[in-house]
């Protein structure tokens, strides 16, 4: 089903997964350790080029390619995969709304993997309600001065380039938000605490603290007041990535369940000969295929240049993440007591799956987005 380019991406991810992720994923999880070496290998294999256009040092292969890579990597480790995919999320504001100068300056370094990237929207009081952002950016001559704290930033402390949403006009709420590029090492920009998470523990999740952090005015993305739009567009584009992550985690869990149930014997026979278990496997496989199809549809829609894809993109994220939670839970069930133990990978997959229902817009918010889009479509006719 995949064309030659996508097949090539898949093969590379399998090779990285088998050789470099599988042997250490339990250790990365246990030790809450960022997979720096794996990121270097991904860079060498051109995986950071696929979402960056050729004119900026990428291979310009688009959302579908990113989804295939994220899915395949997630089959091995959801935490490693999100550390990869979060780079695309961080680069998205520049890709979508950045100036030519910003693209020329930043995208080639991201395509080569020389620098990692992160997107910073969430704050203690601004999660689903992105309008609740408190971080301020005050214009001061040819600079902006940033003050505030970002929370739960994926790749925080590991990335060198951050796209940050801050208020330039607090009176106007969400319409007073703007997007900025902040580089690591800028005075006044520091990292706060690193989170100790339930799952995707290989990924770094950290606070970003801005205290009178002066950044050049040319680091404003698009225009003042467009920050909320930049953020929403970014998330619409990245949701198929979360969906792909969910599909991959689910597939990894199903693979383990199929393997185990073909080896484990009870009552003198392999447990996969029991119909009760066969029905579980059948449902898991069917749900994964459906989630994958919806994910590829959303990614394909983005690549086709469609303008309105936020509904399908949200549907893919909701459906695939709910499937991932269900399938990984069932995989633990199939492995029984062993599934609950850390010696087997499925309990980690179950922990990893949970976040896909929460981040980049909770599934409840996504359902609102879907319903609103549907209602709007229905009444436009």
């Amino acid at each position: 089903m995949l064309n030659e380019d996508l097949q090539a991406i898949k093969e590379i991810c399998i090779e990285i997964g088998e050789k470099h992720i599988l042997p250490i994923r339990a250790e990365l999880d246990e030790e809450n350790k960022f997979p720096r070496e794996i990121m270097n290998i991904m860079a060498q294999s051109d995986l950071f080029t696929i979402y960056i256009p050729e004119e900026y040092g990428g291979t310009g292969m688009g959302s579908m390619a990113l989804a295939v890579a994220t899915e395949e990597l997630s089959r091995y480790c959801g935490g490693v995969a999100v550390s990869y995919a979060a780079n695309a999320l961080g680069a998205m504001p520049i890709l979508l709304m950045g100036s030519e100068e910003q693209k020329k300056k930043y995208l080639p370094q991201l395509a080569s993997g020389e620098k990692l990237c992160a997107f910073a929207l969430t704050e203690p009081e601004a999660g689903s309600d992105a309008g609740g952002v408190k971080t301020r950016a005050i214009k001061d001559g040819d600079h902006y001065i940033l003050n505030g704290t970002k929370q739960w930033i994926t790749n925080g402390g590991e990335a060198q380039i951050y796209t940050v949403i801050a208020l330039t006009d607090p009176e106007r709420g969400a319409r007073g938000a703007s997007a900025f590029i902040v580089e690591e090492g800028t005075p006044g920009f520091n990292y706060g605490k690193k989170e100790n998470k339930m799952g995707i523990r290989a990924s770094a999740t950290r606070e970003l603290i801005f205290e009178d952090c002066r950044i050049p005015a040319e680091n404003l993305i698009s225009r003042e007041g467009f920050g909320f739009m930049v953020a929403m567009k970014t998330l619409d584009n990245s949701r198929p990535g979360v969906a792909a992550q969910a599909v991959g985690i689910a597939q990894g869990a199903l693979d383990e369940a199929l393997k185990y149930s073909n080896e484990r014997k009870q009552f003198g026979v392999k447990i996969n000969s029991f119909q009760g278990l066969q029905f579980m496997l059948a449902d898991m496989g069917t749900q994964i295929e459906a989630a994958r199809a919806l994910t590829y549809t959303a990614a394909g829609l983005i690549d086709s240049g469609a303008k309105n894809f936020n509904k399908v993109s949200a549907m893919a994220k909701v459906f695939a993440s709910d499937v991932a939670m269900k399938v990984t839970t069932d995989a633990v069930q199939i492995l029984g007591g062993y599934g609950y133990m850390k010696e087997y990978p499925v309990e980690k997959m179950m922990r990893d799956a949970k976040i896909t229902q929460i981040y980049e817009g909770t599934n409840q918010i996504q359902r609102s987005v879907i319903a609103k889009a549907m209602i709007k479509e229905a009444h436009r006719k």
Binding site: E4, D5, A8, S45
Partner: protein
Amino acid sequence: MKFVVAVKQVPDTAEVRIDPERGTLIRDGVPSIMNPFDTYALEEAMKWRDELGGVVTVITMGPPQAESVLKEAISMGADDAILISDRAFAGADTWATSHTLAAAVAELGDVDAVFFGKQAIDGDTAQTGPSVAASLDWPQITFVGKVRELNKDSIIAERYVETGMQVVQTELPVVLTILKDANVPRVPSLRGKMKSRKVQIPVWKLSDLGLTEAETGLNGSPTKVVVTATPEARTGGQIHEGSTEELVSRLADLLLGEGGEA
């Protein structure tokens, strides 16, 4: 720098079986892969190319389908590749193979180093690398676990041998055979894979190498295989069950009963 890596397409031995009647390999349905040791040779050559500049050319002698290992090498980052393929080369032993490969290296010209894997997993002779060096009358360093220094004139490398480690220095050009201790081969890159799909790999024939039929293939091979035999398949071991005490005494009986000395 101009580096050549000689690779071999081999059957994946994890999958291979032997026809017990005829004593030959059953190659049907067995996937072909790049000889695993050659991946370390390729990585070592590319590592030094990346540091010093230059090109890595991969060569293989084999049937037309051996092109796939050359494409694999290109997807991993080799610059170009040459397939050395002619009916006249068929049935070559290590002598004739080395003679042919050496002719190809000479034809390429100005080569600084030729990298081989320490041996191929199908023949296990470990002769081809050294024999190419002899054919070219170049120095050779075999069983290289680490290349310490390499520049346009000379090389210092560590040989890992049974008695320990030897540090060897010689002038270029040189032939090396590489151990898996030397490096971790890189994963193919996306651009490499895209390039390998499009690349046209030149095929060098007997006439391109200035060799004669008498020097190559079966004609040029002094080795005659008289007979090949398959070792008898191992029978399954015995499984005994019982308490530790019972098992220890039964094991002792068995060992002593079979003439063993406690």
